[in-house]
């Protein structure tokens, strides 16, 4: 069985300068309670790897507004003007990466691969300064594996052993991030006994999950 921790206890494990992967797509499937506790703790200088930063003061946007982020690797920041401003002003160092490449880079980190060979972005300004690898006369853009100190993931259901199942479009980057971080903290909507989630419906085996966020006071 895994230890259930409060969002505050989880946030306390994360120090200034940590590299975090955070699940979610426009806040859908993001660990909102954990993010709120991180903001509360006042952590600084984070590197965030995530698909996007949601909206101003929502989801990962809360960390942006709180000034907790020094570096961001994401595919899209268009719906959060605060992140765009912070990028243009040089307050946050933002690396924009195609969404499919970003997902594969995280997977490569978690699966022990040496990186990703892709056609996406090849020949565009987004490939400037990046490594091109020639395979039998054909150029491929190389993207390195990504890893993190922590993955903060959200899920629909989690059992007492940390077995996780995701739901609908809240799945997105969560399963792949759960493979790519030193410590995985999972914020479930529902916590169920072992055996409630059948083996075929476990998307992230519990061996990958280090801490489960406890149910909230009102839950």
């Amino acid at each position: 069985m895994k230890k259930g921790v409060t969002p505050e206890e989880a946030a306390a494990m994360i120090s200034d300068g940590a590299v975090l992967m955070i699940g979610g797509f426009m806040g859908v499937g993001s660990p909102h309670r954990t993010i709120a506790a991180l903001v509360e703790r006042g952590v600084r200088n984070l590197t965030i790897i995530a698909n996007d930063t949601a909206k101003a003061d929502y989801g990962i946007g809360k960390l942006i507004r709180a000034g907790a982020v020094a570096r961001l690797v994401a595919s899209h920041i268009g719906l959060n003007p605060e992140t765009q401003r912070a990028m243009i002003d040089g307050v946050i160092d933002v690396e924009l990466t195609p969404q499919g490449t970003l997902a594969e880079q995280i997977r490569a980190g978690g699966y022990g691969l040496g990186g990703v060979l892709t056609k996406t972005a090849l020949g565009t300004t987004a490939a400037e300064g990046k490594k091109i690898i020639d395979i039998d006369g054909e150029p491929w853009l190389y993207a390195p594996p990504l890893k993190a100190d922590f993955a903060l993931i959200a899920c629909d259901r989690c059992d007492h052993n940390g077995n996780v199942s995701y739901q609908l479009t809240a799945t997105n980057f969560n399963p792949v991030m759960a493979m790519a971080a030193q410590t995985v903290i999972c914020e479930p909507r529902e916590i169920v006994p072992v055996g409630v989630i059948p083996p075929d419906h476990v998307n992230t085996p519990g061996v990958l999950v280090n801490y489960i966020i406890r149910r909230g006071a009102h839950q």
Binding site: M26, G100, R107, T124, V176
Partner: protein
């Protein structure tokens, strides 16, 4: 029947989508294409945040916070839909399993290159899934107004950063259907009531024009 510019584009794009295939519609104008697709065709719409078989917004009060499109808006799912994680979603896109992607454009040029993701110094939204879609889909359909504030968007060479160096399949605007080829941009069709001279005037790129350029023919 008088159609609005958006309706012309959406109805014409709809004719390009084939029975039983997987299609990705970009946010905005492209999303509206689905209005003109008969459900009997069994075309499945993908949203790159992780669903094959998205449906329109459910009735008020029926929304699920775990079921949204790539813009974060509530959606529903058709019977037989499948939800997938981001790696699988982009595997479908990048592996050539998506028959068509319909995207908006800022510029398209004589080589058929599309620019639609950034206006340096002004707009830095990030490319999201656009580069993956243009690189990976079997067919890339650009659906856009022919001009922006009177300025041509179909240009000799893109001045904005490209989304991909791959040539798009077809450009469908409120004035014309244009196909990029080895020889250049071929004007295939005119919008209803639009003259060829009007299209040429609204286009700064060179167009290859056949003797007869038919009007777009809509089903309905």
């Amino acid at each position: 029947m008088t159609l609005s510019p958006d309706e012309i584009i959406q109805r014409r794009v709809a004719l390009e989508l084939h029975e039983g295939t997987l299609v990705n519609l970009g946010i905005g104008l492209p999303t509206g294409v689905s209005k003109y697709i008969a459900p009997s065709l069994g075309i499945l719409f993908q949203s790159e945040n992780g669903i094959v078989g998205m449906d329109s917004r459910p009735p008020e009060g029926m929304e699920d916070e775990e079921l949204t499109d790539a813009g974060g808006g509530y959606i529903s799912a058709v019977p037989g839909a499948a939800t997938v994680d981001s790696t699988m979603s982009f595997g479908l896109i990048r592996g050539g399993h998506l028959d068509a992607t319909v995207l908006g454009g800022l510029q398209v040029d004589e080589k058929g290159h599309l620019a639609n993701w950034v206006v340096p110094g002004k707009m830095v939204p990030g490319m999201g899934g656009a580069m993956d879609l243009v690189s990976g889909a079997r067919r890339v359909l650009v659906a856009m107004q022919h001009t922006a504030r009177g300025n041509p968007k179909i240009v000799p060479e893109c001045t904005l950063p490209l989304t991909a160096t791959r040539r798009v399949t077809l450009i469908i605007t409120d004035l014309a259907v244009i196909e990029p080829t080895d020889a250049g941009l071929v004007l295939l069709e005119r919008a209803p009531g639009v003259e060829v001279a009007e299209i040429v005037a609204a286009t700064s790129a060179r167009l290859i024009i056949a003797e007869v350029v038919p009007e777009m023919a809509f089903g309905g």
